[in-house]
Amino acid sequence: MTSGSGGWRVLAVDDVAPAVGELRRLLLEAPEVGSVVTATDTVTALKLIQAGPLDVVFLDISMPGMDGMELASLLARMTDPPVVVFVTAFEEHAATAYGIGAADYLLKPVRPERLRAALDRVQRFLAPPTGAPEPAAVDALAAVPVELAGRTRFVRRDDVRYVEAHGDYVRLHTPSGAHLVRIPISRLETHWSHASFVRVHRSFLLAVPAVRELRSDLTGGLLAHTDVGDVPVSRRHARELRERLLDAATRGVFDGGSR
């Protein structure tokens, strides 16, 4: 792969000009994307693919002439093929798409948060795990020291239902009370994301298994209800939380759990 420091070189192909324009706009908002070239037909797309190395290709499936699937099959035969993400209006092609090695499959119109998830998948395709354990493999912060009445105690991560940011501090909400700790919420997110914690709001990190109920208030805002309080869920995180909850529920996390 050729992704250098200048960010990914991306090609977006769709015969509907406004669709490709919107996709380009959304892609350029992503920090890892360096440049985006577009094509509204497969011949132009093939020329662009031949002209320069590309890291990622976003492909519409249904196009006149050669369709996206055929183009992707051609790409798959290259020695160093770009990562392919399909973008289509219909769900029926999904199985075939994954069959030819696509990284992801987006439905039109594309939601920004869904595109974000697709770019994360692309990242994994571009930089497959090297096999060496990452530094985070050491379970840092499985317990967090807190000051309580002049003494240092430890709050177990598994007891934390949710984390609330207060400037440079966070408040860890547990059944035994809330504890103020000096650590940025983004750092806790990094360390705890593998342990079922998910960012649901600019200021809130939530333990997925702690959710008892998803609630919406009268104005349409979403709340995750836990036994120690309700956590606001922002609109752009709602989808991911729902997917994490669905995934956890499918694994039986909520059946007879202790939380």
């Binding site: 439905l107 039109k108 119109p109 939601r111 959710v211 008892r212 109920e213 998803l214 609630r215 919406s216 208030d217 009268l218 349409g220 209800h225 609109r235 709602a238 989808r239 729902r242 997917e243 909850l245 669905l246 956890a248 529920a249 499918t250 909520f254 059946d255």
Partner: protein, 335 residues
């Protein structure tokens, strides 16, 4: 076997039409009943089934051709051909070989066959109509809601482009879900995503008049259910409980696990209705515009069994609560 019993058999055997599997046997019974040398039943293409020995096949073909051409009785050497009518329409010919046969009995036999075929046709078209009805019910997207949503979105394009964009994505999600193919299953999570898209649009249209509370336990999110089992109930509650009232109303949607079942309820605090009217709706005798409930009820029973229909709790002035139960795990129902 008595004549009546034989007649009943013949009617049954002709249920699938002249080219159905029972036609041969029906013709054999007619053959015995009429005491003829041979009996043939021929459709409009000239293809037929025969019983007995046809003395002159060539002459028989001539007679069939004459009957079908003229839509009237035709005769040949030792042969009588009669037109067969279903709903006053020529559908084939009955050909009888033999001498000295009772002419009235032959006419009666032709009429009998015609009526049997007519009934077969009616049954087939009733089945098609029922399927078409279920399909039509499924694809029910309210044009009213579509235009209101688009109008609301258009109004935000200038003043709040970000919201307009967001609402259009919701609109895409709403229509995608509503246009999903029949016979498919989704999850409670999928249905709730569609409900949220719908509610975002409804809020844009109705503003403060619409108040909604959703409460859903995460453990039922993976439960499989037919597409559009829950969302139409919410749409129904908004339409009847909120839109029709001047100062708006509250719609509550609640989902929780209860043993091996998931219980989902949709409740509004609108005008409610006479419980007898609610029973009529579920029995298909209600207002043709409120087919949403009926449709959901029918599909749930089809998928999960007769015990899993909708339960409507309502009274005039007391709002409406619709309760839906689905098994958390049902063999063969996979999203």
């Amino acid at each position: 076997m008595g004549v009546l019993a034989i007649g009943r058999r013949i009617v049954g055997e002709l249920r699938a039409g002249l080219d159905g599997p029972g036609a041969q046997s029906a013709v054999r019974r007619l053959h015995g009943l009429l005491g003829a040398d041979a009996v043939g039943l021929v459709d409009l293409r000239g293809d037929g089934v025969w019983a007995g020995r046809v003395p002159e096949p060539f002459a028989a073909r001539e007679v069939v051709a004459a009957v079908l051409r003229t839509d009237a009785r035709a005769t040949g050497p030792g042969l009588t051909g009669l037109p067969v009518h279903a709903r006053d329409e020529l559908v084939g010919a009955l050909v009888i070989a033999g001498d000295g046969l009772d002419r009235a009995a032959l006419l009666e036999a032709a009429a009998w066959v015609g009526e049997a075929l007519e009934r077969a046709r009616l049954e087939a078209s009733a089945e098609v109509a029922e399927q078409a009805e279920l399909r039509a019910l499924r694809a029910e997207i309210s044009p009213h809601f579509v235009y209101n949503s688009l109008t609301a979105i258009a109004s935000f394009v200038e003043t709040d482009p970000e919201r307009a964009r967001e609402l259009l994505l919701d609109f895409a999600e709403y229509t995608r879900h509503s246009l999903a193919r029949g016979g498919d299953y989704t999850t409670v999570a999928g249905e709730f995503a569609a409900i949220e898209a719908y509610l975002a649009l409804a809020r844009a249209v109705l503003g403060d008049r619409l108040k909604v509370q959703l409460r859903i336990a995460p453990e039922i999110l993976p439960v499989a259910l037919p597409y559009l089992a829950l969302q139409p109930l919410v749409e129904n509650a908004v339409r009847h409980g909120v839109e029709l009232t001047a100062d708006g109303g509250l719609v509550q949607v609640h989902g929780e696990a209860a043993g091996s079942e998931a219980i989902l309820t949709v409740e509004d605090d609108g005008p409610g209705m006479d419980p007898e009217h609610a029973a009529d709706v579920l029995a298909g005798r209600g207002n043709p515009h409120s087919v949403g409930l009926l449709n959901v009820d029918r599909r749930l029973r089809t998928v999960f069994g007769p015990g899993y229909g909708l339960v409507i709790e309502t009274a005039v002035g007391a709002g409406t609560k619709v309760v839906l139960r689905v098994p958390r795990f049902q063999p063969g129902v996979v999203a």
